[in-house]
Subunit: 131 residues, 3 copies
């Protein structure tokens, strides 16, 4: 599953895409792993609410500020050390139960791709096992 | 698996409940996924030590303070934005190995439900796959 | 899988060890769970870049300082409360897809054992399921 983000930091709701991958697999009972393939990005589950997403942005900037880029040893050739840190807070992956052919999510659970160093082609892996 | 918490924030040891679910499944080798169904809660593994739990409470309040509620854009109709952030630090889920019919946990590993916006009926999902 | 760390805090690249465990299993399609057995340690995926690792060290000390030990209620008989907190930020485990007999990792993804209270014999669990 590939897609592109338009800004440096962005949250993309990928719940439908994961659901489509599950339906294509035909699996009825099992586990679905959904993970970022990039170490400056995250897959996480939370609320699809724009206010909360702006809270995440402000909060993560407080915990691991992007600038000045020189504050991080990693930023010799790069400028994305903050993205590596932010991704640790938000997590690399989620594992979701599959029950009766559906993602077994709580009422407000939505799956997001969190990009922290974007504007490039990015990839999410969905692996479903079971029967 | 349903239960209720009495305070807004609380850590509940659910290791026995997960073990009971494993025994009921009859599975000997596999993986057990344990996740919160709520986006203001967490399932995590750490030490069952009251001092540490009070350290978690103080630390998480420092990283993502509950008040003033107006500091978060999410808090229009709600007052729980801090709970959404705290849950990201603590994580949504754990995946535990199942070996010879038992949860393959380290000597001090205990599974907790971490509630950050409680006093309501809450649900934890346990999904076990294997044979 | 056992090993020892020489300093209190250390990041060890264990990607090869996990890959060896996968090959020994003979599994072609499935999931690999890799988790710390210790609650003051972490298994996580990020970049194998020394500058970034020193950024992690500085950043985690900022979020959850080790000293003074007396700042944490957990530190009655122990001095490692900060290690319990740091491990929550970095995570306990990773779940990696197994495709065609290989760890299905992104181009820069490397698996690390993050030790926050070391100088002792430590253990990582690798559990692979599939077929």
């Amino acid at each position: 599953m590939f897609f592109e983000t338009r800004s440096r930091r962005e949250f993309v709701n990928i719940t439908r895409d994961v659901h489509a991958a599950l339906q294509a697999s035909g699996i009825q009972e099992g586990l679905a792993l959904v993970n970022a393939m990039h170490i400056t990005a995250s897959v996480f589950i939370n609320d699809d609410e724009p206010g909360l997403h702006s809270d995440f942005e402000v909060w993560l900037e407080g915990l691991a500020p992007e600038k000045p880029h020189s504050r991080y040893a990693h930023n010799g050739y790069e400028d994305n050390a903050d993205a590596h840190l932010k991704r640790q807070v938000m997590g690399r992956e989620v594992v979701v139960a599959v029950t009766e052919g559906k993602l077994d999510l709580g009422p407000w659970e939505q799956i997001f791709y969190g990009e922290f160093d974007g504007k490039r082609r990015k990839r999410v892996l969905v692996k479903i096992i079971g029967e």
